[in-house]
Amino acid sequence: MNISIKRAMLLFVLLGSLLLLPAIGACGDDDETAQEETAQEEDQTPTDLGKPVKISQTFALTGPYASQHKEIFEAYEDYIKFINDNGGLKDTNGISHPLEMLWVDDKMEVTTELSFFEKAKADGSLIHGSLYSSAYGALLPKAEKEKIPLFCFSSSNMVIDPQRTGYSMFPYYEDVLGAYVDWFLQTWDKPSQPKLAIIALDNAYGKSALGSEILDFIESRGVDVVAKEVVDAVPVDTTANLIKIQNADADFIYAQVIAPTAAVIARDMQKLDIELTIASPAPMGPSALLDMAPEACDGWIGMLWAGFYADDDRGVKFMRDLQTEYRGSPMETDQYALGIASVMTMVEAVRLAMEEVPFDELSPEKVWQFGINRIENFDTEGILPPINLGVEHGYYGQNHVRPVQIQGTQIKWIDDFIKCPDTMAYKEYYQTEGKAIAEELAGE
């Protein structure tokens, strides 16, 4: 045989083997688990279900956001199993339909995101979700054109401006920072002007803490922003940034970062003996930080919009039950809580549309019209404050945060839900320009 043909065959065999690796890896212990899960599903899924109802969601399961997105992914999986185990979604004729999630690991690549969006559309997905704003921005024009409801986990201001068929049910990052400043000022009793240092991740999420509107808002509250430090997602060292903050004589810090960044900052703060109040918004994830830097993150505050940190909480009980049922034991991660609230809202939009529209006529546009637009004071089992979406209900999702703090090896709520200030004047935008755009779109 020709040597080049031999090489080609070898190449082919190697590639084939690689593709089979995950399947081989699934054998053994994991395989038993998988079989048990499949058997469990077979036992519990009702047999008289109709055609599946599909929703689609992308996750970045590889890369710096992987740890957070994996928790969100698991939340989606669990909730969909929960819905299916409880009879699926009923159509106008009373026939139950199982819920199916189409998903992909987009590696935070917009082209993968777009490709998957097209595939999900072709496969009949009724509602689509993306986890970060740069991908959302590229999907929005396509979603708008075909009136496909698009959810975004990120709540940077680009999600709302311009308002079309895209939604986020979480408070805007700028408003969360505003809420933190207001919350901090409640306890500020010194005569001097408080000084804030901001550490921002070097991306859209991070830089939203440095926009001119939010900086103006902070200034209007009498707070001086003395340092604005930009860091990588997974920095090697933040000592220089922290020394600058120290030299600027800051009184408190706001770090718009993710858990791997926060872990490095926490260790460097410990090394430099900096003991300032420091807080981050929900995407940071205190539970992930506690896992990554348990020795250094004591006292770190999370301005969360959902979490696990109260035993008597209705939402916490619901999530613990889900995890016990489908994961064996509770995991207690805040990203899981956000995932549950998100998928719950998406499914609610589909459910509301199915109440009004016969199953055969269901389409993304119908879900947008009869689902999203009817979400008013939606209760996510108490995980989030009531959610409002759609033209008539002001779009806002919900705009409350609740501070938690890492205390030793525990994470505890340290205050009740706080309503965020409207730092970007979006309330007015929703009521005027945003509403006009949505109504024009609905009328087309």
């Binding site: 090489r7 699934a26 395989d31 899960e37 590889t62 690991d105 917009v110 970060y132 740069s134």
Partner: protein, 356 residues
């Protein structure tokens, strides 16, 4: 002589220099162009999903053609291609959305702006070689992306939305029409690349790649030609970036990450450096593998083996890409284009294929 079937002779220099030399080649080319033209309307690829994929492959081809001129022909490794794409994309986005420039003005301007930026970064880059050159171009990537995020007029981390391209009264707002536009530009850019490498400039690039000292002795100024290669490469990246931003209708710095630059280099290795066909083969092959593993196999494996979902199955695309590049470097460093040459040669000499 090896490139033509037995019995076919060139009777003039013009014929000898032609890219397409025989009637059979002309026939095949017309068939290929015909297939490209009907693909979005008929057959298994006539869906938004596959058209979107083909558009992305075509944009990748343009960018890789540029990188091929720089890395494949001139031997200068670059990790800045994605950043130069970003320059093209943002030039288009700003001119289109803020100044209202039309597509026909934005597209060349994107290429020229990327060329200008590429030229600036090339001046220090061409003074170093190998590993140091890679690091210099890496720095270019970070500086450009940092500037895009930091400057106000680029929309910073918020990004910029743009409208679909328009030429006169024709708006390319359907996937099919935009596909036609992108394929047209890709063909022009590919023919342009093919012609560049056949000229004196192209031979100078090859001489520098093979031995820059010897090239200098022969009268080729490495500094000038390396600068030229960088500029041409950046021009291609700018055009690709412009088309990509028209496709996405949204410019954002996160769309032009370092991973993209590495992917482009990997595609070039797999396709075959120093070959115009290689850029096309590599783009189709790698993007197809990526598409199949990411969009189809990974979620299917995750659903089949729930314990793997969100873990190994999610990373399958990256694993496969890494493995493919590794395998090609070890077993076929000249890439798919070399395989294509061997295949053509064996058929040309058939049934006497002892030549290989």
């Amino acid at each position: 002589m090896f490139n033509k079937p037995a019995g076919t002779f060139n009777a003039s220099y013009t014929k000898d220099e032609a890219i397409v030399r025989t009637r059979t080649q002309w026939g095949l080319l017309i068939i290929l162009v015909g297939i490209l033209a009907v693909v979005p309307y008929y057959g298994p690829l006539a869906s938004d999903y596959w058209i979107n994929f083909l558009i992305y492959v075509a944009i990748t081809v343009i960018s890789v053609q540029g990188l091929n001129i720089l890395t494949g022909y001139c031997g200068q490794i670059s990790l800045g291609q994605a950043a130069f794409m970003a320059v093209g994309a943002y030039t288009t986005a700003i001119l289109s959305s803020k100044a209202g420039w039309p597509f026909l003005a934005c597209l060349p301007m994107a290429g020229l702006m990327a060329t200008a930026v590429g030229f600036i970064f090339a001046i220090p880059a061409v003074r170093v070689k190998g590993f140091y050159l890679a690091i210099t171009t890496l720095a270019a990537h970070f500086v450009i992306i940092y500037l895009i995020i930091s400057l106000e007029f680029t929309g910073g981390s918020i990004g910029i939305y743009i409208e679909r391209p328009r030429i006169g009264s024709i708006i390319f707002d359907s996937p099919q029409s935009f596909y036609m536009l992108v394929i047209g530009v890709t063909i022009v850019m590919t023919v342009f690349a093919k012609n560049i490498v056949r000229t004196k400039v192209g031979w100078a690039f090859i001489a520098i790649r093979d031995n820059d000292l010897a090239a200098k002795v022969m009268g080729v100024n490495p500094f000038t030609y390396k600068l030229l290669a960088f500029s041409i490469s950046a021009f291609y990246a700018g055009i690709a970036g412009s088309l990509l931003v028209y496709h996405l209708q949204f410019a954002h710095p996160e769309h032009y990450g370092l991973t993209q630059a590495i992917w482009l280099l990997g595609i070039l290795i797999v396709g075959g450096m120093g070959s115009i066909n290689g850029a096309i083969f590599g783009s189709i092959f790698v993007r197809l593998i990526d598409e199949i593993t990411n969009i189809h196999i990974s979620p299917a494996l995750g659903n089949l083996f729930p314990s793997l979902a969100g873990q190994m199955s999610a990373a399958l695309g990256l694993l496969v890409f890494t493995a493919i590049v590794g395998i090609f470097i070890i077993y076929e460093p000249r890439g798919l284009s070399h395989r294509w040459q061997l295949l053509k040669a064996s058929y040309r000499l058939w049934p006497f294929s002892y030549w290989t």
